[in-house]
C-alpha cells in the first residue's frame, strides 16, 4: 500500500508540473499579446507598451512562468485588470462552493446510477428496462443549464420552495445551505446520472455474465441477491473510476450551473475571466482545476487499492 501511495504521489507531482507549463505555454502562444488582449484592438500603441512593462510582460517567458508559480505558492497573483479584484483571493474563496456542488452531485449520482443500472441490467430484455434506457437518453440530451432553469421556474418562481439564486455557506446557516444547493445539484445530477447509468448498466451486464454470479446462485442466492451482493461491488469498480475521472469535468461543468444560480464559484470566475480576456485569471484557474483533477486521480489510485485487492499485489500502473 505504501508503495502505491508513493508511486501515485510522484505521478501527481510530475503531472502537475507538466500541466502548469502546458497551460502557461498554451495561453501565451495562442493568446498572442496579453496586453493587447486586455486593452482590445483599438488600443493606442503607447498604452500597450506601458501596460506591458507594468505587468512585466516584456520579461523572458521562463521568468514570467516562474513568477507565476511563485505567485501561486505565496498567494500573490496580482489583481484583475478589468475588474480590479485580487486574483488569488477570489480563486481561494471560490473553490469551496464549486467543490460542494461537485461533491454533492457525485455523492448522489454514483449510487443512483448504480441502482438504475443494476435494475436495467437485471431486467434486460424485459419491457421494464426500457424506462431506464429512455430516461438515460433524455437525461443526456437535456442541457444542464436548461434543466436548471426549468427547476428554477417550477420550484423557485412558481412554488417558491427553494431560492432561485444565491449561495449560503454551510457555516452560516445549514438549512439555508441545503436549500441553496438543492436546485443546482439536482440540475447537475440529472445529466451526470444519465451518463453514468449507461456505464453502470453495461458494467453490471458484464458482471452478471461472470461465473461467480452463477456460483453465488448455486449457493442459494436469488438472481437479485447475487446481483446485489456479488455483482454490485465488482460492477461499481469501473463506475467509481469513471465517476472520479469525470469529477474534473463535472467541476468545470458546474461553470454553467453557477451562472444560472449565481453561485460564487470558480466556474463563474472562469467565465468572467474568459469574457474579459484576463489571461492571468484564466491560466491560474485552469491550473487549479488541473491540480484538483490530478489530486482526484491520485485518490482514485488509492481507492482502487481498497476496492480491488488484486491491485495491491500487482505493480502500480505508471
Amino acid at each position: 500500500m505504501r508503495r502505491l501511495i508513493f508511486r501515485s504521489g510522484v505521478t501527481l507531482l510530475v503531472s502537475a508540473l507538466f500541466g502548469s507549463v502546458l497551460v502557461f505555454a498554451l495561453l501565451r502562444m495562442l493568446g498572442g499579446d496579453v496586453a493587447l488582449l486586455l486593452l482590445g484592438d483599438e488600443a493606442v500603441p503607447g498604452a500597450v507598451e506601458a501596460l506591458q512593462s507594468e505587468l512585466g510582460l516584456n520579461r523572458p517567458a521562463y521568468v514570467q512562468y516562474l513568477d507565476w508559480l511563485a505567485g501561486l505558492a505565496t498567494g500573490d497573483l496580482g489583481t484583475s485588470y478589468g475588474l480590479g479584484y485580487d486574483i488569488f483571493d477570489q480563486i481561494r474563496s471560490r473553490i469551496v462552493p464549486t467543490l460542494f456542488l461537485a461533491v454533492g452531485t457525485m455523492i448522489i449520482s454514483v449510487p443512483l446510477a448504480l441502482l438504475l443500472g443494476t435494475y436495467a441490467a437485471i431486467h434486460v430484455r424485459e419491457r421494464r428496462s426500457v424506462f431506464v434506457d429512455v430516461g438515460a437518453q433524455l437525461g443526456l440530451a437535456v442541457p444542464a443549464f436548461w434543466a436548471g432553469l426549468l427547476l428554477v421556474l417550477l420550484f423557485a418562481v412558481k412554488l417558491g420552495w427553494f431560492p432561485a439564486t444565491g449561495w449560503v455557506p454551510p457555516t452560516e446557516d445549514l438549512v439555508g445551505f441545503f436549500r441553496s444547493m438543492a436546485l443546482p445539484v439536482t440540475a447537475l445530477v440529472l445529466g451526470r446520472t444519465a451518463v453514468m447509468t449507461r456505464y453502470a448498466r453495461s458494467s453490471m451486464i458484464e458482471v452478471m455474465g461472470e461465473d461467480y454470479i452463477v456460483c453465488a446462485r448455486s449457493r442459494g442466492r436469488t438472481l437479485r441477491g447475487a446481483a446485489l451482493r456479488h455483482g454490485l461491488r465488482n460492477a461499481s469498480i469501473p463506475l467509481v473510476t469513471v465517476g472520479i475521472l469525470q469529477f474534473g469535468s463535472l467541476m468545470v461543468g458546474a461553470v454553467v450551473i453557477e451562472n444560472v444560480f449565481a453561485i460564487p464559484g470558480m466556474g463563474r470566475l472562469l467565465v468572467t475571466g474568459v469574457a474579459g480576456r484576463e489571461v492571468i485569471v484564466v491560466q491560474s484557474l485552469v491550473f487549479v482545476f488541473l491540480l484538483i483533477i490530478l489530486t482526484l486521480n491520485f485518490i482514485l489510485d488509492i481507492v482502487y487499492g481498497f476496492l480491488d485487492p488484486r491491485i495491491l499485489d500487482k505493480p502500480v500502473r505508471s
Binding site: L30, P143, F145, W146, S202
Partner: protein, 310 residues
C-alpha cells in the same frame, strides 16, 4: 506472480462457445432487444435530425421575419399571437424565426467543428498508429492527456485566446474533440496494421501512408462515422453552452444558447422564452444521439449500445 503449482491453463471451452456461437449464451448480452429497438430509435433520430436540418436549410433562404431586426413595440408577445406563432423575445424578435436561424448556427458550428475534428483527429491517430515506437508513444500519450482534460476547459482557454464568437466556438470544439478522435482511431488502426495481409502489403514495398490510406482507413471508417454522429450531438450541446455563457455566437447572430441566457431575467412572466429554445436543443441533441446509436447497431452489431463510449 502465480503460485508454483498453478500454471496458466486454457479453460476448456464451454459446450456452446465451441459451437461457434458468437454471443454469450449466458444470455446477458441483450442482442435481441437491441435489434428490436434499432429501427425505432433510428427512425426517431432521423425524424428529429430531419426537422433540425430542414429548419436550418430553409432559414438560409427564408424566415418569417428578419432574424436581426428589432421590434421593441411587439416584445414579449405570448405563444399563439397573430403573426407570431411562438411569441416574441424581449427585443420583439419572432421566436420561430430565432429558432430557425438558431438551427442554422447550431448545425453550422457543429458540422464544421466535427468534420474538422474528425479529419485532424484521424490523421493524428493514423500517424500515431503507423509511427515508430517512440514517436507512437508520445503521440498516444498526448492524445490521452487531451482526452483526460475536461473538454470545456480546453474550449474556454481557446475562447480566451480567440475572443467570443462563432469562430471561437468552432475552434474550441475542435480542440475538445481532436484528441478523442485520435484516441479512438489509434487502437483499431494498430490492430489492422498487425494483420497478416497488411504485413504482406509491407513486404511488397508499399509505403506506410499508402497502407494507412487503403487498408486502415476503410476499416476504421464505420467506427468513425458512428462517433461523428454522436459528436454532432455533443457539439450542438457545447455550442449552446458556450453561447449561453456569452462566449459563443454574438448578437445579432441567432443562437439557441443565447436565447436561453436572455430568458433568465424574464423567467417569471415569459417562461416560454426559456422552454422553447431548450426544447429545440434537446430535440437536436436527442436526434443526433439516437441517430448515432442506431447507426452503431446497424454498422457494428456486435458492439451493442451497452459498450458505451466515454
Amino acid at each position: 506472480m502465480r503460485s508454483p503449482d498453478r500454471q496458466p491453463k486454457t479453460r476448456q471451452p464451454t459446450d456452446v462457445e465451441l459451437l461457434g456461437q458468437e454471443r454469450e449464451v449466458d444470455g446477458w448480452e441483450p442482442v435481441g432487444s437491441d435489434r428490436l429497438k434499432a429501427p425505432i430509435t433510428l427512425i426517431l433520430g432521423i425524424m428529429l435530425v430531419g426537422i433540425v436540418v430542414l429548419m436550418a436549410v430553409v432559414s438560409a433562404f427564408w424566415t418569417p421575419y428578419d432574424p436581426a431586426a428589432l421590434n421593441i413595440a411587439d416584445r414579449f408577445l405570448p405563444i399563439g399571437s397573430p403573426g407570431y406563432p411562438l411569441g416574441t423575445t424581449r427585443l420583439g424578435r419572432d421566436v420561430l424565426t430565432q429558432i430557425m436561424a438558431g438551427a442554422r448556427t447550431s448545425l453550422l458550428v457543429s458540422i464544421l467543428s466535427t468534420s474538422a475534428a474528425v479529419v485532424i483527429g484521424t490523421l493524428w491517430g493514423l500517424a500515431a498508429a503507423g509511427a515508430r515506437p517512440r514517436v507512437q508513444r508520445v503521440l498516444t500519450a498526448a492524445a490521452d492527456v487531451g482526452v483526460a482534460l475536461p473538454g470545456i476547459l480546453i474550449a474556454l482557454v481557446l475562447a480566451t485566446a480567440i475572443g467570443p464568437g462563432n469562430t471561437a466556438a468552432v475552434i474550441a470544439i475542435i480542440g475538445w474533440f481532436v484528441p478523442i478522435v485520435a484516441r479512438i482511431t489509434i487502437g483499431p488502426a494498430k490492430q489492422i496494421l498487425a494483420l497478416d495481409y497488411v504485413e504482406a502489403a509491407f513486404a511488397y514495398g508499399r509505403s506506410m501512408w499508402y497502407i494507412l490510406r487503403r487498408h486502415v482507413l476503410p476499416n476504421v471508417a464505420p467506427v468513425l462515422i458512428v462517433q461523428a454522429s454522436l459528436m454532432f450531438a455533443a457539439a450542438i450541446l457545447i455550442e449552446a453552452t458556450l453561447s449561453f455563457l456569452g462566449v459563443g455566437a454574438q448578437p445579432p447572430t441567432a443562437s439557441w444558447g443565447r436565447m436561453l441566457n436572455e430568458s433568465q431575467t424574464v423567467l417569471d412572466f415569459a417562461p416560454s422564452l426559456m422552454i422553447i429554445p431548450g426544447l429545440a436543443i434537446m430535440g437536436a441533441v436527442l436526434g443526433f444521439n439516437l441517430l448515432g446509436d442506431g447507426l452503431r447497431t446497424v454498422l457494428d452489431p456486435k458492439q451493442s449500445a451497452n459498450r458505451g463510449t466515454p
